[in-house]
């Protein structure tokens, strides 16, 4: 590694994250929200801006920047303005621990998984602030639903990860990737041991609860366009709405990245080694491929399913997901000791 002074290194890392968040979000918006959804619904989606509408996300962004920044009468102006920032900063912080290669990680924390899930749940605060400060009944209903739902699904999300942590024996995300890369399947080490093979229950739980964390259908009760109009986002316009919008897709990107790291082997691809220049160069590309695979599943569900009612979501989390994840942890622990 090059020896850089601390401020320079920090600035580079900040710049990298600041570039990755909008780019990742825009790629998801274009590929899935614009194109995949359109083709699923037998239409073309944007076709005018750029080749097959590739520049449409940029156009949309510019459009939002031109819109008037409305703050409703009776709104708590400071909190109202602060809420989108809280949401996007929570997303921003997750990216700090996701490894894109053996050395390509902003901060290789020993408690990386714990940190990522902890800061990820900060966005509830922003959602609550937005709903309360909007002085709108629909927003209030939406934000309270969001708070209830995000807290309920935080548990299975964390518990699903515990299985992986037990199997890998570390909480560092880089460590988990290395453990998968160096793992063996019954003595066969050719493709490593991606944890989706052993932790498939954990994987399913993680995907379902991250869907709920993202407040996407079938768990989009807090947003519920057809009844709460857009829930906590109803009163936002212009660049503040853009923050929420980017935050939503950047979180989808980040959670896909965590799922890819925990269960699909992260940046590791068989044959490319676990350190050195090749792994560092190919790492981001491999990780991106796995992220797109995960995001495809998440958005596929989103565009297909109707939504559950709030009490049904809670029942699903507390009566099904949490008990299953506890059993999963117990079984993983027993097997870890046995083998």
């Amino acid at each position: 590694m090059l020896a850089l002074s601390y401020p320079v290194e920090t600035a580079i890392k900040m710049g990298a994250v600041l570039a990755v968040i909008p780019v990742g979000a825009l790629i998801l918006v274009y590929v899935f929200l614009f194109k995949m959804m359109s083709h699923m619904q037998s239409r073309l989606g944007p076709m005018e801006a750029g080749f097959h509408g590739t520049l449409q996300p940029v156009v949309e962004g510019v459009k939002f920047l031109q819109k008037e920044d409305l703050i409703p009468n009776g709104a708590d102006r400071r909190i109202f303005a602060l809420a989108p920032l809280v949401v996007i900063i929570a997303t921003f912080l997750i990216y700090a621990v996701i490894p894109a290669g053996p050395d390509l990680v902003i901060s290789n924390l020993d408690v990386g998984v714990f940190y990522a899930l902890a800061v990820g749940s900060l966005s509830v605060l922003g959602v609550l602030m937005a709903g309360w400060a909007s002085a709108n009944k629909y927003s209030l209903l939406g934000s309270l639903r969001a708070a209830g739902q995000l807290i309920a699904y935080e548990l299975p999300l964390v518990l699903a990860v515990v299985g992986v942590v037990i199997q890998a024996g570390t909480m560092s995300l880089s460590g988990i990737v290395e453990a998968q890369a160096e793992g063996e399947i019954f003595g066969f080490g050719g493709i490593g041991n991606p944890y989706i093979l052993t932790q498939f229950i954990g994987f399913a739980l993680f995907v379902v609860s991250s869907q709920a964390e993202l407040t996407q259908a079938p768990f989009d009760m807090p947003i519920a366009e057809s009844e709460l109009v857009a829930g906590y986002m109803t009163e936002y316009s212009g660049f503040r709405f853009l923050f929420f919008f980017i935050g939503e897709f950047a979180t989808a990107f980040a959670l896909s990245a965590i799922a890819a790291t925990l269960f699909l082997g992260g940046w590791y691809f068989p044959g490319l080694g676990t350190d050195g220049a090749l792994a560092n160069l190919a790492g981001p590309i491999v990780l991106m491929g796995k992220i797109m695979l995960m995001a495809f599943f998440i958005f596929w569900m989103r565009f297909t399913y109707p939504r559950l009612r709030e009490d049904q979501l809670q029942t699903f989390a507390w009566k099904w997901l949490i008990p299953i994840s506890l059993v999963n942890i117990a079984v993983t622990g027993v097997l870890k000791v046995a083998f």
Partner: protein, 390 residues
Amino acid sequence: MTITQHQQQAYIAGQAAEARLRFELETEGMTLNIGPQHPATHGTLRIVVRLDGEQVVWADPVCGYMHRGYEKLCEVRKYQQVTTLINRIDWLGHFANEVPFILAVEQLYDVEAPPRAQWIRTIFFEMARMANLGLFLGDMGVQLGAITPVFFAFRDREHVLNLMEAATGGRFHPNYDRVGGLKEDLPKGWVDECKEVMKRQREFCDEMEELLVGNEIFQTRTRGIGVIPQQIGLDYGLSGANIRASGVDWDLRRDRPTPLAWKEADWKVWTHPDGDSFARYWVRLQEVRESTKIVDQLLEGLPSGPVMAKMPARLRVPKGEAWVNTENPLGEMGYYVVSDGGPSGPFRCKIRSASFNNISIVPWLLRGVYVPDVITILASLYFILGDIDR
């Protein structure tokens, strides 16, 4: 039939919620205006709900935001001009609005359209039903949060509308019916094209059955929600699929003598015993299928001949009154036309539209349900704002 246990519980929950608000907590519930501008109300219906948390204590529909005064407007128009207006009552089932009015005027004038005209009227009536209910089948998905079905519905409705346009020149407002017959005959090749479209409509129904009806989430959201017991439904004057979903075997197409050609086809009236949102969806799905069958059979045996009876250029309807009701996509629709024998249009025209009666059950039905279910129950009752307010 008595009130079901679910309804009893919902009623008790509503009462308890109201008592809590008034006496125990000494707080005020939240009054939420759903509408007049709201995506779930298909236009400008306003529903005032008092909430305790997410539970509805009481709900009150407020209609009239789109009142256009059609009954009065009919009085200052000639008979031939009225069809242009009444196309816009139920704007999704456009052609079906014209038929009962024209039948009433024909009854007054004592003229009967030639058989070919009656058959084509029936075919178009059923196509209007497909265009209307097909959209409902997709729209119900949107109200439940599944955004894909509605695009399929729009896609396949387009084929029906294209057929309408080919024959009448109008996609939404065909204005095709005349006193004594039809504006003109079908264009060449229309019949074959129509058979193709009916096949596509049946495929669309299968698609919806796989995508929504079989979906577990759809079933948990609709089964046992918004149950209308048979007697309550009859008391509130529900009609159409809403009452058939409560187990009442009642269809004016079959039960009322009519010059139209329904009796020539072999079809079935579907009912469902449950009376919940799911039943209403299911009954409408089957109705679209039956409609395609009716159209197919009528196309096979379409009689030849003129489509217009001999009519004078200036229509002078003799003094009298007539009431004709038909089974429209949304339910029973009827026109009570009074003529004073003058050269101008009707002296009085009372329009009975289905949706106005269908939403009258809303205060009873929404008591004690949760806010998300308000939307699905309203969606499954299926009203068109123009049909409520006229």
